[in-house]
Symmetry: C2
Subunit: 332 residues, 2 copies
Amino acid sequence: MEYLSNDKLVIVGAAGMIGSNMAQTALMMKLTPNICLYDTYAPGLEGVAEELRQCAFEGANITATSDVAEAFKDAKYIVTSGGAARKAGMTREDLLKGNAQIAEQLGKDIKQYAPDVKHVVVIFNPADITGLITLLYSGLKPNQVSTLAALDSTRLRNELAKYFKVPADEIQMPRTYGGHGEQMAVFASTCTVAGQPLSQIIGTKALPEQEWTAMKQRVIQGGKNIIDLRGRSSFQSPAYLSIEMIAAAMGGKPFTWPVGTYVNNGEYNHIMMAMETTVDANGVTVKPVQGTPLEHKELDQSYHHLCTLRDEVISLGIMPPIHDWSKINPNL
Amino acid sequence: MEYLSNDKLVIVGAAGMIGSNMAQTALMMKLTPNICLYDTYAPGLEGVAEELRQCAFEGANITATSDVAEAFKDAKYIVTSGGAARKAGMTREDLLKGNAQIAEQLGKDIKQYAPDVKHVVVIFNPADITGLITLLYSGLKPNQVSTLAALDSTRLRNELAKYFKVPADEIQMPRTYGGHGEQMAVFASTCTVAGQPLSQIIGTKALPEQEWTAMKQRVIQGGKNIIDLRGRSSFQSPAYLSIEMIAAAMGGKPFTWPVGTYVNNGEYNHIMMAMETTVDANGVTVKPVQGTPLEHKELDQSYHHLCTLRDEVISLGIMPPIHDWSKINPNL
């Protein structure tokens, strides 16, 4: 079995649980033999590199470095989980500020060291915001930067499959758009359960309104639930899904879930959020979101929440006011 | 892409780092859609199952249970990392005894609940011994139980590739046989480096004897090195390699590394240890080990060390004396 490409793929944050899983996943998917692991934590990085070399993936050329210039040199694809985790005593704003600054530096590093990069996937939280900042400072085009947004939809799929006791594949087009978690907009109207429109099931005996509300709550709390159960943050699913995204951007198997992407369409402006998209070798293409008026209203609310977060980052001085973005990135 | 088989594959110890990686790896390799996760630690198990469901592997049917009877029902393949880790204050003998007892119960559970299992891969330490105990109590045939032994050889390959600064694929047939770690027997005579026999390089300026000795020491300490670097035991490489083993036993891609297997050939008797093998849908077939007289002497020493460990387990009363084994398992 051949590799999909020989292009250099860089995993940022490769010493961590998500990053190390990303690297293994990319090697198993045979995306490229040329995988470069980057992390500022050198011992852990070397440990991950050694483990992966000891897997003996055929043809793999696994490099590892804590020097960003070396890591990004000739990089064609970058996937990054390299944010900070929320630590005891940190406020939400501390986390936002810290990861926003990391995203700013990431964008600048991409611009300086990886000007020919084709696609970047950003997954550290809040990903809609860190992805937006990365896009701004990297100077890349909007179709070249995407963020992980699929997990809410795959969690919805899982909850529906469990509730109706059907195989998960019988749940078609489960969709959440907009922001992540509390602010996501659930689009029941897109979804079918064993061929039947979910919208027609909600509010019936098969799925009473309050059960549906409880289910949406479980989707929102999906990440917290993993922490409660495993005693650690979810790492396998974000790693796997983000590598599926970069695989699609590398010209591999199409990615069939919502993707966080830059939106500036008159209705939603200067924002990064989960939309219906296609991802292929041309990057991300946004498709129209189909839904009921109520669902679109929820998406509006989700959008406004993301605007508030974005404006908070602007007020922190990490991003300039929107009218100045094009000075940094003419593509915006 | 279709699954290789529909046979039920059980991952034992699935709540752990190795087990959860095994499950993800097996799903990514598309070995079978029917993966059952088993662990006595129910919350962690559920967390892993949820993460994997949230990956949305196409066609996957992921079940999870802490009931061994349910887990093993109709199981055709089992991979187990479900041993105990060495904890503070435990002696080596405590660990041996604890994991030997776990292996005894595992074997009995297989016999009772999974009589039609085709192949079992055992990887919890000391794997040569826990695999032997599992084989004894399961009543399976020797070709149906194997243990993870490849890591010493893949570590040797990695050290050679780094030392000679050549791609790892240029290191052909790096081999260690017999026991694991300190007691492994390194067979330099099987190996070539960029086409040149390693035996002809050792002792020259290209690889002085003392450098070769240091390299073997790094291979022996390979697992400890990962702990030092990552702050946790190696989990990605053992998980990946053991799933490659079961993949071969399921009729998939051939496994090209040494495998721990039952040996009773007149020269080495009533023991499980790393040998040259083929693994395919017929299970493990032992092939002759080729080496120099000195290498065979090292293998003899490794064998004798394993006999001592085995006899220690017999003296603990966990296995009966060898002459009584056939009463428990007529295949031995």
